[in-house]
């Protein structure tokens, strides 16, 4: 773990450390979330959409997120494409090469569950969560670049919730609607009249 995380653990025990911790925590969360550098582990079709999302039309750099080809320099590993059993040790190893704190986006159905290759395939890994921990599951075969950008923005909320103090986890505030939020137009279907 990085120095700041040790600092967080020791600050917690100090009297008055909580105030400093909260400030530091907020700043680090912001800093980490605003600069998500992605490591593309592009294997198949999804890699095309990953490339598209960092290129001219969708331009990922707008969000401060740049692709780097060296896992040592990256925060978020984007597994884009099918992972086979031959590739699985490589994925594991690349994940271990990344410095903490690190996050993983499983991009595309193949990485979520095996997708179209779930049944009858002898060589496909059924979901990369068998190998590495996954933070964001992004469905689609392949997901559109907009969907991928949304995944990165969702991850932002998750990173902000991550605290440098071990006992200080906060709930993730997502921009997605909660389950009990009424959907648009729901009243019309039930009430039959526009309010």
């Amino acid at each position: 773990m990085a120095i700041i995380d040790d600092l967080g653990a020791s600050l917690e025990k100090l009297p008055g450390g909580g105030v400093a911790l909260t400030t530091l925590d907020g700043f680090m969360g912001w800093s980490r979330s605003m600069s998500e550098w992605t490591y593309p582990l592009g294997t198949a079709c999804c890699a095309m959409e990953y490339i598209a999302s960092s290129f001219s039309r969708f331009d990922f750099d707008r969000h401060g997120s740049i692709p780097r080809s060296d896992p040592r320099h990256c925060d978020v590993m984007v597994v884009a494409g099918t992972i086979t059993r031959k590739m699985a040790p490589v994925l594991k190893r690349l994940y271990e090469q990344m410095p903490d704190p690190k996050w993983v986006i499983a991009m595309g159905n193949c990485t979520v569950s095996g997708g179209i290759f779930y049944y009858d395939s002898y060589s496909v890994v059924r979901g990369i969560d068998e190998i590495v921990p996954v933070d964001i599951y992004l469905a689609g075969c392949p997901p559109r670049p907009e969907a991928f950008q949304d995944a990165v923005l969702q991850l932002r909320a998750k990173i902000k919730a991550h605290s440098i103090a071990p006992s200080n986890e906060r709930p993730v505030r997502s921009t997605l609607p909660n389950a009990d939020t009424p959907r648009k137009g729901e009243g019309i279907a039930e009430g039959g009249e526009r309010s």
Partner: protein, 153 residues
């Protein structure tokens, strides 16, 4: 040149091949015995079939069938050559010295069907990891990690 003309020409040039020639799905098809494969391939190459387009195998239970798709750029025609080997002794001569293109194709067939090619310079698994056991494209391949799709039909 179409398949009929090719068949006639092959017959004229190699009368002993004539009875094993037929036309299937629009292409001249030559059925060869496993022991004649190499000599026959060399003959076909001399005739102008300089391009090995595809090589694959089929699992017919107690026999494997090797399918070679050959093409001649000069004559602008393609033909099949087929050869059967017994499942118990899946060995056949390698054609790498005739068509270098056969190199990776034969490794792939070795990998997925377990057919050995005698005289291949570097016969190793190509697609699957080196430590894989079994040959998945055989019809009787079993692997406990495969999830079978429920049959809806």
């Amino acid at each position: 040149m179409n398949a009929e003309e090719l068949k006639d020409r092959l017959c004229a040039q190699y009368p002993d091949l004539c009875e094993s020639l037929s036309i299937e799905s629009g292409r001249a098809t030559l059925v060869v015995a496993a022991q004649d494969l190499h000599a026959c391939a060399a003959d076909l190459k001399d005739m102008g079939f300089d391009f090995l387009e595809m090589l694959t195998a089929l699992d017919w239970g107690d026999e494997f069938e090797l399918v070679y798709l050959l093409r001649s750029h000069e004559m602008a025609v393609s033909m099949f050559a087929k050869c059967r080997v017994l499942r118990d002794a899946p060995r056949v001569a390698s054609l790498v010295d005739v068509w270098p293109a056969a190199n990776w194709h034969e490794r792939e067939v070795f990998d997925l069907f377990g057919i050995s090619f005698d005289g291949h310079p570097d016969l190793r698994r190509l697609l699957l990891p080196e430590d894989w056991s079994g040959h998945p494209l055989r019809k009787d391949y079993e692997d406990e990690r495969i999830v079978r799709r429920p049959d809806y039909i």
